[in-house]
Symmetry: C2
Subunit: 320 residues, 2 copies
């Protein structure tokens, strides 16, 4: 079995994990990126340089790569590509390729911070209060539901890009004048958790949960984290998966503030912190390969990893 | 022979390079940091957690570590520690430990952007014009020596921290009101180079130059770079070393603007991009070990590496 990983970027480890599984059975990983200097390309068995995901020829290029290498499954490692790929789910299926990702509703919701808030709110799932107009914000402040400092961010942003702390009404007014599609949220973060979840593509049941507390961020990514077994978070995630229709690998961010948990972001793909889970015995590539082979994985059986294990990232280098 | 590397932080590769050399002859690397979660600690043969470099007991702690492990040489991987260590050069020498670093004058100059500018300027070495008062800036603008946008940064800062682009006189006035010890420089950067240099501790002659063009930065560090053989830069570096009294490993930053080169920063220590040089055949650890063994290294013999080789960083992870 061969698997295609698109927009591989810096995600060397994820590519490596798949390669090590697939190579055992004569399978291969093909990785793509638009940048020949994307390190993760070189963790794959083969790589191909492709156009930008917004290019008219992008999907055709991927389809040709799938045919050339007899690919069984494909997934992307970046958010903006998820909605591009899902549009062509049927096209991929027609040539026997499974798209390893959630359905369009879940993807669309995940990419939009306001829709995420509304969706979670409607289902009694705790979310970060999110406002999209200056009137909503003013109202919430006068109701004492909200106070400065606030956080403003792009409604569809990712990687901590464009996040601004807001200290005054004047600053808020200027931001709304200068930017379309902003969301405003309270600054409620005493602790931050990242949760890796796998939902079986066949049984649609959850199979794994791995919870880490983020200790240090660097360039918008978790640089250090510690594994925790927080049963409040486990319960929240099980409830969340029950009420949504996600499948495949997921990365969910949670804040803790004043003893309460808030789901802040859902990424329907491998999270940047997945290697922490993997090195501690969780194995999403194996789950995916089983699913592509037509086998459902065993249902969830608890938090099966050691607590208090710290993950530290450090630089490796490659010369090409 | 045992070597102590202090403030090891994330510099896993540098520790690893020393370890691989020393272990061949029964020697060891000892690494220290104040943070048990500093990844580079775990690349060493042994590590010790130490107080903050400003702590009253810091030097005593290092001296005790040197005695405990019969250390022959010690060096730090961060700028602020250089001036702390150099004060105790004699104390280290009395117990037979060589401080692998430059003299106090060179260290003090390197840590201060305005002194660097003055020092280079006085010696006809091309430097980035640097101003420390609003009057100097206003004067330079009215003489047409300077124009917006400008760059303001902390006079003793490092790691790209606190760098602000300045677009107007009002903004500049506010910055000088809010901050002490600012420097202002023109925004002159079309290309940026990082140069790794070794000056022999015994002969005081230069032994190696490695030049890379920086292609992409991330969290204040070079993420991607390409090796170049630029003979203008080589000439500049040879001239620079002739006119200064640096010894040991150096990391020099250069800008290119309008076809002219400007030295922008001198770090009298292993640079963050050193692994690029090392993986291409340059070997500062070997130079240092020779020097500690009382042997001078051969003098500089040209740019001995391949051009157009791209270095890419990617994340490795460790669990502890």
């Amino acid at each position: 079995m061969n698997i295609l990983i698109t927009s591989a970027g810096r995600r060397y480890k994820v590519v490596e994990y798949f390669k090590s599984h697939l190579n055992k059975y004569g399978g291969q990983v093909i990785a793509t990126d638009l940048d020949i200097n994307a390190p993760a390309l070189y963790a794959a068995d083969t790589y191909e340089i492709v156009p930008r995901i917004t290019d008219d020829n992008y999907i055709e290029t991927l389809i040709n790569i799938c045919k050339k290498y007899e690919v069984s499954g494909v997934f992307s490692l970046i958010d903006p590509e998820l909605s591009v790929l899902i549009e062509y789910k049927q096209t991929f299926e027609e040539i026997g390729v499974t798209l390893i990702t959630s359905n369009p509703t879940m993807i669309e919701m995940s990419l939009d911070k306001y829709k995420t808030y509304q969706y979670l709110n409607e289902r009694d799932l705790p979310s970060v209060p999110t406002y999209i107009t200056i009137e909503q914000v003013t109202q919430a402040i006068s109701n004492n539901d909200l106070s400065y400092p606030l956080v403003a961010k792009p409604r569809e942003g990712s990687s901590s890009l464009g996040i601004v702390t807001v200290y005054s009404f004047d600053q808020l007014g200027q931001l709304f004048k200068d930017h379309d599609n902003l969301v405003v949220q309270p600054f409620l973060k005493e602790k931050e958790y990242g949760i890796d979840v796998y939902v079986d593509l066949i049984s649609h049941n959850i199979t794994d949960i791995f919870i880490k507390e983020k200790l240090r961020m660097r360039a918008g990514e978790t640089d250090k984290a510690i594994s925790v077994k927080d049963y409040r978070i486990e319960k929240l995630i099980l409830d969340f998966i029950e009420k949504t229709t996600y499948v495949g690998p997921l990365d969910i961010d949670c804040f803790e503030y004043n003893g309460n948990l808030y789901i802040s972001e859902i990424n329907p793909r491998f999270g940047g912190g997945y290697p922490h889970a993997h090195e501690m015995g969780i194995d999403f590539p194996e789950r995916i390969i089983n699913n592509l082979n037509g086998k459902a994985n065993p249902d969830y059986s608890g938090l099966n990893y050691k607590e208090n294990k710290v993950m530290m990232k450090y630089d490796n280098i490659m010369i090409k």
